[in-house]
């Protein structure tokens, strides 16, 4: 029997997931209400088109609905897991649209340009303070580190593709990825301190 909406709203994400796994529509609805906005935003950030973002978000949530039992609490939060599902779907969408992996001759600047202009500005009003901190951590990255992280995470490019695109040795690309993540991680740790 489906739990009532009010009861589902009081449950933590991790408590909702077993209910979603048992096909409880109220639990699924609450899950969407909590994370649908972030999921859609991420999809839009990656695919750069509202209709495609809708499609990607819907596919991602339906895959969660149909395989809710796959969530493993030991590997992170429900939200992180959900957003990784969305990210993978969105990258798949980009690749299928390109007919294969993203084009190697794709200018990295044009990857950034295809995002909505507002998303490239750093002065964004985010709802939550933590999101603001996160943006700050990423916004403070040196440009070359931000670029490789951008191309990998939001563009779906492999390190070798990025190396070719930016005409850099692969070791340099991997190094910048690592330094960038280290810096974000460090700033997040400071923010929590």
């Amino acid at each position: 029997m489906a739990v009532r909406r009010e009861k589902a709203e009081r449950l933590a994400d991790e408590e909702l997931m077993p209910l979603v796994g048992r096909k409880d529509p109220e639990a699924f609805e609450v899950l969407y209400d909590r994370h649908g906005g972030a999921a859609y935003s991420l999809a839009y950030r990656i695919v750069g088109d509202r209709a495609a973002a809708e499609e990607v978000t819907q596919e991602a949530f339906i895959s969660v609905w149909r395989s809710g039992a796959r969530f493993d609490a030991a590997r992170g939060s429900v939200r992180s897991w959900l957003l990784s599902v969305v990210r993978n779907r969105a990258i798949d969408f980009l690749r299928s649209k390109a007919g294969k992996a993203p084009k190697l001759d794709f200018d990295d600047e044009s990857v950034l340009e295809q995002r909505p202009a507002a998303e490239r500005t750093e002065a964004e009003a985010l709802r939550r303070e933590t999101a603001g901190e996160v943006r700050g951590a990423i916004g403070n990255l040196p440009g070359e580190q931000a670029k490789v992280i951008e191309l990998a995470y939001f563009g779906g490019f492999s390190h070798s593709e990025i190396a070719q695109m930016l005409q850099l040795p692969m070791g340099t690309v991997k190094g910048r990825m690592r330094l960038g993540l280290e810096k974000i991680r460090g700033e997040l740790a400071e923010g929590l301190a």
Partner: protein
Amino acid sequence: MSGSDHNRWSEDLAAYMLGALTPAEVTEFERHLDGCERCREEVRWFEPALHALPESVERQEPPPRLRAALMAEARSDLGEEGRERRGLLPDWLRAGFGGRGLRLATGFAVLAFAIAAVAGYEIGKGGSDQGGGASTLVTQEHGIKVKMVREGDGGTLHLANLHQLPPDKVLEAWVRRQGTVEAVPALLVPDRKGQAETTIADMSGVDTVMVTEEPQGGSETPTGEAIVTMSVPQ
């Protein structure tokens, strides 16, 4: 695990977490990860940074129709529990068999009209000597040739150019009469030439004939996509 070996893999760690390794590299890296506690520890340390990336994007409001469509799809899944062909039935048809006959009738009519308009059909008078004679409807859809021969109160549905079905599948014909969809009792089994036929004993009031792929033994209601839809003039 030697320090130098760990350092070699450690260079790939950020690329791994960002999804920037090839599938083969991922497999190799994860094999190493299984046996390297230092790398696993680094992965755990980096995780908050990785999880921060999707949170960094500008917030967009999803359109309300997305939530509605999602919940409709989820709820329609529940209506299909026990069916073997989940996800293949069009939403409008699925909803129709959930007890909302009007929606089914409307959807069916729209689809039939669309197919008739696109594929077109011809009506030829045959030379049958049964009563008022026979009429033949011919159409083609998805490469399948469809011929419906009406004789007296009944009719025969002939299909040609059918692909060979998996052993656990059959074709099932359906008729719509006064808004109600009924199964045609005799299932369609393609022969070696890709042809199949079934008899519809009572064609009175039938305005649409449809064929779907169904599990062996047939279904009580259509569960697959219509591979053929033919409207029948009254």
